[in-house]
Amino acid sequence: MISPAATATPIDTDPWRAYPARILRIRPEVPGVRTYELAFKDVAVGVAYQFAAGQFNMLYLPGIGEAAISISSDTVATAALGHTVRAVGNVTDALARLVVGDELLVRGPYGRPWPVAELAGRHVVVVGGGLGLASQRAAIYEFARHRDRYRSVTILHGAKTPADLFYTTEYAAWQAAGIDVRPTVDAPDPNWSGAVGLVTDLLAGLAIEPERSSMLCCGPDPMMNAVARAALGVGIGLADVHVSLERNMACAVRHCGLCQFGPAFVCQDGPVFPYDRIARFLAVPHL
């Protein structure tokens, strides 16, 4: 397990050690997606466990397998660790069959987090495509709690339809904390009064000073490429665009080799990367 500063301090010497956790709550988010709130069974493990916004856990269902899932809850509320999961594969389908009180195993947290503290004094633009917002929610809670440290905080959240927008019940609290929340959809329904179109369309309308702005972006690779292009278009440097990648992973500790992306291990060098460091690799199809 690693500390919020992303310096590894394993509490166990065996990287394959997984800790039993119980499902405290299951919250339906959008169709096919639920948030599982987990608590470690062993109190000492729960107390020792800390994570930073943007890190992920390996959720393990014995006999089924493991999945890397970002932690979507608040970093200061580790008694209930949120994992927002879409049922799209072996492990996540099996997870969808579990109920409150069931047990699974957790190891983590892993990976380079969002540079939340480093963004103090800047305009922060969070760009989340669909479920991408899950990896950013812990950061959003920190921005809300320490809103005065940032010049401005804006969330651009894109989804297919209004029913596919994430965490809509929390928008009021985020807005009350001084965050500008701007959802946009591809296909509006009759009740929709918000923006229609791509998240990139919203960027030009923001009242931000580009040289004092940073972006946190998570979504499908093509969306992140489009956002980086749009950021450049409004004058935000690519070193200030941080993206979170997703790749296949078996170990999360730089041993299995599956998550390689160019010279990077997504599990350890990412999942969060400054866009300028990986742009040339994102440009190559099927890398």
Binding site: I2, A8, P10, T13, D14, P15, W16, R17, A18, P20, K41, P62, G63, I64, G65, E66, V88, G89, D102, E103, L104, L105, N225, A228, R229, L232, E246, R247, N248, A250, C251, V253, R254, H255, C256, G257, L258, Q260, G262, P263, A264, F265, Q268, A279, R280, F281, L282, A283, V284, P285, H286, L287
Partner: protein, 398 residues
């Protein structure tokens, strides 16, 4: 001979019978002794019962997609070079249980995994494979997380290295700067001398562990004189020089070498070079190259449950970047073409590895060339890209 003189850095003559005494002492101290043997038409690593099992007189002729053993009574014990096996097969076994969980009343409990087994002694390890050992050490032990099973085996490993007197056409350790002379990471290193058909070995002691083993194994050993040490050292060094100067002889396999100058940038600047599509027309995506590679470390984990589902083992097994499963996400492979998978293998081995672990992932052992069923040659693929660099998407935005 004063046994106290057998210390790290000293050189001693071992006669043929001394090898058996050494193997006997390794066995007596609980080691599993593994060494090269002829089996299934190749020199492979197997458990040794004695020096008689060693492949005396066997030579391997290697070329792209070709491996043939020939018996030559004048050849020595270790004049073959490398077969399909390497230390990887033992330190990072093809299949291994890395965790086990049992369920009682709906609660899972992690169980200890199996004992790592007896300490391993490997005989006949070449300079290229010692470099591979150092490379895999950095993978499994050099980062924030240490693989406990690898570390347990590695820490108790006993290495009897061998200086090569001969190179196969597929060998290019000289290009990778790690051979053929054995310089580090061994307990004992043998340099074979054949005089009047009689084999004896100049043995360099490389560690305190090696010195202790030799002291306990052998009663009477003659020390190598300074001149004899110079002669022994010169043998692999001369071979290294010869490898640099090898020329293609008509009708014989082409000797390999690899120009590593600026290779990282060369490959990363040519990620969309047409050669990737060209090699894909030959590559079968069979994974052989990654299986015989002594440094390839990719692995997947499979769940193995008993019938009740209450006792589950997690089995780690070798994975390959040539397999569709390697980069599978949401039911599809990110690298869905042979061209993209070959590119991953080559660029990781020779370019990305430098960023990740501070060295090339290639030791020049040539196994990937020999065991490729269609004879694809890593040195030729790099040369082709070097010859016509197309330039990549250097900093261009996607």
């Amino acid at each position: 001979m004063n046994r106290d003189e057998i210390v790290s850095g000293s050189w001693w003559w071992l006669e043929a019978g001394d090898l058996d005494r050494l193997f006997g002492e390794l066995t007596r101290t609980g080691h599993r002794v593994v060494g090269p043997q002829v089996a299934d038409g190749a020199v492979v690593y197997r458990d040794l019962s004695g020096a008689c099992d060693l492949p005396h007189g066997w030579l391997d002729e290697q070329d792209g997609g070709s491996y043939r053993l020939q018996y030559d009574p004048s050849a020595g014990t270790f004049d073959h070079v490398v077969g399909p096996h390497s230390l990887k097969n033992f330190l990072f076994p093809p299949r291994e249980t890395i965790a086990r969980f049992t369920r009682t009343d709906g609660s899972w409990e992690q169980q200890p995994t199996a004992d790592p087994g007896p300490p391993l002694a490997v005989i006949g390890v070449r300079a290229c494979d010692l470099e591979a050992l150092r490379i895999q050490d950095r993978v499994f032990m050099g980062g924030d997380h240490v693989d406990p099973a690898y570390a347990a085996r590695r820490e108790r490993l006993f290495v009897v290295a061998v200086n090569c007197r001969r190179a196969a056409a597929t060998c290019f350790c000289h290009s990778m700067g790690c051979g053929p002379a054995v310089r580090q990471s061994f307990d004992l290193a043998l340099t074979e001398h054949t005089t009047d058909g009689r084999a004896r070995f100049a043995c360099e002691v490389g560690s305190d562990q090696g010195a202790a083993m030799l002291r306990a194994a052998c009663e009477l050993l003659a020390a190598c004189s300074a001149d004899e040490v110079t002669t022994a050292r010169r043998m692999p060094e001369d071979l290294g020089r010869q490898m640099h100067e090898r020329e293609t002889i008509p009708g014989a396999p082409r000797p390999r070498s690899l120009d590593t100058e600026g290779i990282r940038d060369l490959l990363f600047d040519n990620l969309e070079h047409p050669r990737w599509e060209e090699v894909a027309t030959r590559c079968l995506s069979c994974t052989n190259c990654t299986l015989v590679c002594p440094t390839c470390f990719c692995a997947s984990v499979t769940e193995v449950a008993d019938l009740s589902g209450d006792d589950v083992s997690r089995e780690r097994h070798w994975q390959s970047c040539f397999a569709l499963d390697h980069a599978r996400m949401h039911g599809q492979s990110v690298r869905n073409s042979t061209a993209s998978r070959y590119r991953q293998w080559l660029t990781h081995k020779l370019a990305g590895w430098i960023d990740q672990f501070g060295s090339s992932g290639c030791t020049g052992c040539g196994r990937c060339i020999t065991w490729c069923p269609v004879g694809i040659d890593i040195t030729q693929e790099v040369a082709a890209i070097r010859q016509t660099p197309a330039g990549g998407a250097k900093g261009a935005l996607p």
